[in-house]
Point group: C2
Chain length 317, copies 2
């Protein structure tokens, strides 16, 4: 059995990038003009599952032992990690059970089911999703694949940074990254040691920013506001993510729902890309002038799984 | 002065591809699953102007003599060729006048104006756009850059085929291409001599298909039906395009508005890409089973410039 308590490493990111390059083409690094600045977007929304989470899912599941594979996997996710794990599980012939909030976007529920995973629903305010998962795990003995508090998942997400450096031909000066639990930001920190990493979180859900300021994990309050960024609502970051990010990342910035919608409209009309709210947070920070931009700055577009009706409302305001 | 009556050549396509590679990164070639088939889409909608027309515009304008550049250029276009010419003109410091139909999508009018071109509007049923352009040209002496009946434009569009072969590592077996006047299809025929080229046209606007069957240029009737594919409504193809395509291309297939909308929805939900109606015609043909698909088949997504309101209506049916 593999040790999920080990720390993620830069070597691990390199190995993850090699494994991922063997099965997935790099996602495009596309030029973008924002005001007078010219920089780059990394279009992770163009991954086969429509989100970067395929990286961590593949690195984790493909490293499981035969015995672990036979037990199956469990994941908890609003939808993108769900699809990443389900995609990898299908390809490896592993049974996957995914615990998803009842209010997850319908496209994410449908897509996860279409990948052959079993879905268990919970109610977002009220039920503790980790308890639901723990009960299932106790019964089945399956391996829990955490959405961000896992060394393989962090290394896997970091492989996007390896691709960026290859595509640019040098280390980026800065990466602006949408941030939920901090798996991507931590992975990018390991992949691109010279880059400034800026995590961008929804206003009121800046659990990584608050943790970096406090020096310890902070839990979201019961009164945390609503956000349209369904993919960026962790109850808290985790010590493994905070450990990597401490000293490497500023607390970052937060964005409002309106700024996120504006970023979705920009991606639609200027980039011809479909980006979901949580996938547009980093672009929102760039467009609203909250983060400096230079020619070697990369903005992560982390996902594009969004219901047609809500996307239609957003672009046709 | 350059000879616009010369024939386009494969060497010209190679030279166009080199010129374009020097200023524009290749557009992504993305894997796609259609039913049981796995093939590729070439995402030309991700060009800086949101359409492949930047290729022909750049190859043509950058080859103008200094004397021609000083006279300025004129183009006639519903919007994508307009932007291609305007983009190249701005970069080269050339004055551009674009004749556009009054019913062109507002985003295309706005984007062309934003690139610094002067816009002259005409009424699509009623006024003859070529007459409007000829009058302007007689007055100003500017160089007319035809949207498809031009050897540079054909060679420029063909550069997409050079990129495809480089990205695949071999010649594609087949390319399914959205088709208006036949500039892209002719260019791809020269670029990829071993590939089967299938032009896809809107039902009732198959001026290339009709010309290939008749062995001569056929003009659209006054009673040609409405189509949502604003980019694919040529009054007729031209001898230069027909000459290249004859013997190289089957007449191809036609698609209905409903099939095009279904393709736009597929691109939105499965590929996270914004594709305009005319840019989705080839995908529509692939999805509706009208064209065989294999692992080396490439489907051109030629443009993504669409008004938010109509795109919202299409995806949220």
């Amino acid at each position: 059995m593999l040790n999920a308590n080990r720390l993620p490493t830069a070597d691990g990111v390199t190995r993850a990038a090699e494994k991922i390059a063997a099965i997935l083409p790099p996602t495009p690094l596309l030029p973008v003009e924002i005001g007078d600045a010219r920089c780059w977007v990394k279009a992770e929304n163009l991954q086969p599952i429509g989100a970067f989470k395929i990286r961590g899912g593949w690195h984790r599941l493909s490293d499981l032992t035969a015995e672990e594979k036979a037990r199956g996997v469990i994941a908890v996710s609003s939808g993108n990690h769900a699809q990443g794990v389900a995609w990898a599980a299908r390809r490896l012939g592993i049974a996957a059970t995914i615990v998803m909030p009842r209010d997850a976007p319908q496209v994410k529920l449908n897509a996860t089911r279409a990948l052959g995973a079993e879905i268990v629903l919970y109610d977002r305010p009220g039920e503790d999703r980790d308890e639901v998962a723990a009960k299932l795990q106790a019964k089945s003995g399956a391996v829990l694949v955490h959405a961000f508090a896992d060394p393989w998942v962090i290394e896997g997400q970091g492989s996007a940074g390896v691709e960026i450096a290859q595509q640019l031909g040098r280390q980026p000066s800065a990466i602006i990254a949408c941030c939920g639990g901090g798996g991507l930001a931590a992975g990018l920190s390991l992949a691109c040691p010279d880059a400034r990493i800026t995590p961008v979180e929804p206003a009121g859900w800046d659990m990584v920013g608050q943790a970096l300021r406090a020096g310890e994990v902070v839990r979201a309050g019961e009164d945390a506001p609503k956000t349209i960024c369904d993919a960026l609502q962790p109850v808290a970051t985790a010590p493994i993510n905070l450990g990597v990010l401490t000293g490497r990342s500023e607390p970052g910035v937060t964005v409002t729902d309106d700024e996120v919608r504006e970023a979705q409209r920009f991606a639609f009309s200027k980039l011809q890309l479909v980006v979901e709210p949580g996938g547009a947070a980093a672009l929102a920070a760039a467009l609203s002038g909250k983060v400096p931009l230079d020619a070697d700055t990369v903005i992560m577009l982390t996902g594009g799984n969004t219901d047609a009706a809500s996307f239609a409302r957003t672009i046709d305001k």
